[in-house]
Symmetry: C2
Subunit: 200 residues, 2 copies
DNA sequence: ACCATTCTTGACAAGAATGTCAAAAATAAT
DNA sequence: ATTATTTTTGACATTCTTGTCAAGAATGGT
């Protein structure tokens, strides 16, 4: 490298992610990102190319940040425990006051009106990946006998994906309060039988 | 009236609602509204005062449009049937290809970053009204013996409110497809016991 | 010490959106 | 028909945002 970048790309992306998350993608301007990161507008254009690409990177970073923890929850053989852990991952994110209310991906998803953009594709890919992972889990659980054969693995997968989205909306709608979100998670877990517990 | 309004306020509001719904409140400009309604920008300012008030009116109209049907579903004494009807109201809205995917209120809610605006208050009021109605329903059902005493009426109410939001997100995320939304509703109803049916 | 390369900075032009206003048009009441 | 009142229209100034660029600063290699 000859002329070397003056800022820490990881830290910049964290700030960028935070702003998109808190203000929404549409309302966020390059000036917002510049002042949040301390990097001049021109430098952001030079380094990333613009808002669209910046948002794309932020979405990737957001996913990567919780993917592993959510996946770890699916190691538990008991569906109820696994789903409690899965939803718990999202609870954990919402409990941390550093994070804005809601969910970046859900927020951006609801803002989209043109489904033909790279952003829209990225969102859809993230949703599908989670749904597929849950579906595989439920299918395996059925083979193992841990889940009744008459349950629909895909429908259950969709339901729990949807539940995380619902929790995000509730979190935002209730301005960051956790009790309503906990209620939703608690009741949602009862679809697998009636002894739900969200530890944490 | 002396100088008389040249446009049908109801039709204009319908168009306004549709644009906010489809494009999102943030992305919608007065120019968009002008071209969608056929009313000039200046006239819209004169008649409504601006985007904020226009959005407020659109939210009111949106709520009023499905409030009665949703309330009617709560006349059924059987919780499972009542909730199937309640969620069915939202399915009905999504099934109508005239309507944009998602849900206006949920969309606007997810766009908010400042919780001190009239819009934010209106959203919260709508959420709370629905939650309260469902809570009253479940409490009455318990007294009637139609719902086990160990269920939490408020948590159930929140869960079903959240489920409608989840359905809206899924509808949008899947670009208007209905199957994923139906799966979510179907599974959600099993929290009340396992014989869900969404007629419609 | 110098050079080539890359990043940074501040400024610029172009375009979009907002909110306002005066003049023109339209209408009900007299 | 005239008048008083309201809406409609097109234009305007203002502000915000974007994207680009040339000049300056910084750095690793020679």
């Amino acid at each position: 490298m000859v002329g070397v970048r003056q800022f820490d790309e990881d830290k910049v992306l964290d700030h960028v992610m935070e702003v998109f998350w808190r203000k929404g993608a549409g309302e966020t301007t390059m000036a917002d990102l510049a002042s949040a990161t301390g990097v001049q507008r021109g430098s952001l254009y030079n380094a990333y190319g613009g808002k669209e690409l910046l948002l794309s990177k932020a979405l990737g970073r957001y996913a990567e940040r919780w993917r592993d923890k959510a996946a770890a929850a699916l190691d538990d053989p008991d569906p109820q425990t696994a789903m409690a852990g899965f939803l718990g991952t999202h609870m954990e994110r919402m409990r941390d006051p550093i994070n804005p209310p809601g969910c970046l991906v859900t927020g951006v998803c609801m803002e989209q009106s043109d489904f033909s953009t790279p952003i829209s594709a990225e969102i859809e890919a993230q949703f599908n990946a989670t749904e597929a992972a849950l579906k595989r889990y439920f299918e395996a659980a059925q083979e193992r006998g841990a889940l009744p054969a008459d349950r629909d693995p895909r429908a259950l997968a969709r339901f729990f994906v949807a539940t995380t989205r619902a929790m995000a909306v509730m979190h935002k709608a209730h301005r960051g309060s956790l009790e309503p979100v906990e209620d939703v998670a608690k009741v949602a877990l009862t679809v697998l039988g009636r002894t739900a517990d969200l530890s944490g």
